[in-house]
């Protein structure tokens, strides 16, 4: 009731969306592994000339790392700033005003009588909090609307760039790594099969091959989930942009809440998959 009277908006859903987006955007494990994937591929090859060529490509990937990390960081920073702006803590004066009012209640005149009656202080306290919050809340909502409006095109471009880097760069690199694993172990297994008896050795080799292949597959799955995360972040921000003139509407906040939940679940699964990598 009091929030409605002063026009204050409960933007917790936007805060939560911004926070989870910021946290997942700064997940840069894939950027580092984009370089390492090629280093692992080099390990499966024997031709010195080809290894030298790969070294040059690896150097180019290392040089790309700063650009990749810069995009991750900027998306994360921007979402973090939006989250702070949407946070009720920033416009909450409750703690500091409560302390002041308590002190003022204790102040007595020369006859030892409190200068203010408690009921007056209570009313004054409640009103001052509402007025303080309302003043900055209107400013906050206008700023959110302005900044989201300003940033949306570039934000979408960067999210698309990150998605393309993961799909067209990292996942493609992992698929090449998978093929390198198949060629390397495939040759050893074929050679062993054609030079019996080596059943035990073949069995061990096969297990090792499956282990390596599964590790790459797990990374591909994690990367595909991360692309979904980026997609949700982009769509969530688009939603904020489309409805920025009514940023505190119940429908918008409810929809944004849905995106936060999806991102959070996907991000948990990404971190779980990566934890079980076999190296």
């Amino acid at each position: 009731m009091s929030l409605a009277l002063c026009g204050c908006a409960d933007l917790k859903s936007i805060r939560d969306f911004s926070d989870i987006s910021s946290e997942s955007a700064i997940y840069t494990a894939f950027a580092g592994d984009y370089v390492k994937s090629l280093e692992r591929q080099k390990g499966y090859q024997s031709c010195a000339e080809e290894k030298e060529k790969l070294d040059k490509i690896i150097e180019r990937r290392k040089a790309q790392l700063s650009g990749l990390l810069a995009i991750h960081k900027e998306v994360s920073d921007y979402m973090s700033a939006l989250g702070q702006l949407a946070s009720d803590e920033i416009i909450s004066y409750d703690k500091s005003l409560d302390e002041m009012h308590k002190k003022m209640e204790k102040i007595k005149d020369e006859n030892g009588k409190p200068i203010f009656e408690k009921k007056d202080m209570d009313a004054f306290g409640a009103l001052s909090k509402l007025l303080a919050k309302a003043a900055t809340d209107a400013y906050r909502q206008n700023k959110l609307k302005e900044i989201i409006g300003l940033a949306n095109n570039d934000f979408q471009e960067l999210i698309t760039a990150l998605k393309k880097c993961v799909e067209g760069g990292y996942i493609e690199s992992l698929k090449n790594e998978e093929e390198a694993v198949k060629k390397y172990y495939g040759k050893i297994l074929k050679t062993a099969e054609n030079n019996p008896p080596q059943d035990a050795a073949i069995e061990l080799l096969r297990d090792r091959f499956v282990e390596k292949k599964d590790a790459v597959d797990a990374k591909i799955n994690a990367a595909e989930s991360y692309v979904k995360i980026l997609d949700k972040i982009g769509k969530g921000h688009q939603l904020l942009y489309d409805d920025r003139n009514d940023i505190s509407s119940r429908l918008l906040l409810s929809n944004i809440k849905g995106y936060s939940k999806d991102i959070s679940n996907l991000y948990k699964s990404v971190k779980e998959i990566r934890k079980e990598d076999i190296r």
């Binding site: 090629l38 700033a81 702070q84 003043a135 700023k143 471009e157 493609e172 074929k190």
Partner: protein, 133 residues
């Protein structure tokens, strides 16, 4: 003519597909190929796979080049958001300082020197804390 990012990505995939097909042929016809033939084909497979990696790396380079402009613009937007947050914090500090001054006014009305002294100390402390933020 400069390669587009989509073209580079397609080339990366095509080279990998060629490498995979050659590998399938080598393993599928292992016994029928001489060791020399297998070695030659294997060499070609790795070369093609490495061309694929080269084009994948080019793809990422092209994406990053295209993204540079948007990166700078988003930095500006984030800067605006941070400035707005700073402004709100400044207003918050002003309100906190104002209420501590109000406390001082009330303390003076009480005419109790101890109360006044305490209120003055509080104003000074509040202003110093606000300046640190």
């Amino acid at each position: 003519m400069k390669l587009t990012e989509e073209e580079a990505r397609q080339l990366a995939k095509s080279f990998r597909d060629f490498s995979v097909s050659l590998g399938d042929f080598r393993f599928g016809n292992w016994a029928d190929l001489s060791e020399k033939e297998r070695k030659t084909i294997e060499g070609m497979e790795w070369k093609l796979l490495n061309y694929s990696s080269d084009f994948t790396t080019k793809t990422v380079g092209l994406i990053l080049d295209d993204a540079e402009g948007s990166l700078k613009s988003l930095q500006q937007a984030a800067g605006k958001a941070k400035k707005a947050i700073a402004n709100i914090k400044t207003v918050k500090n002003i309100i906190i300082i104002s209420t501590s001054i109000m406390e001082l006014g009330v303390a003076v009305a009480s005419k109790d020197p101890k109360v006044v002294a305490s209120a003055v100390r509080n104003v000074v402390k509040t202003v110093n804390e606000a300046r640190k933020k």
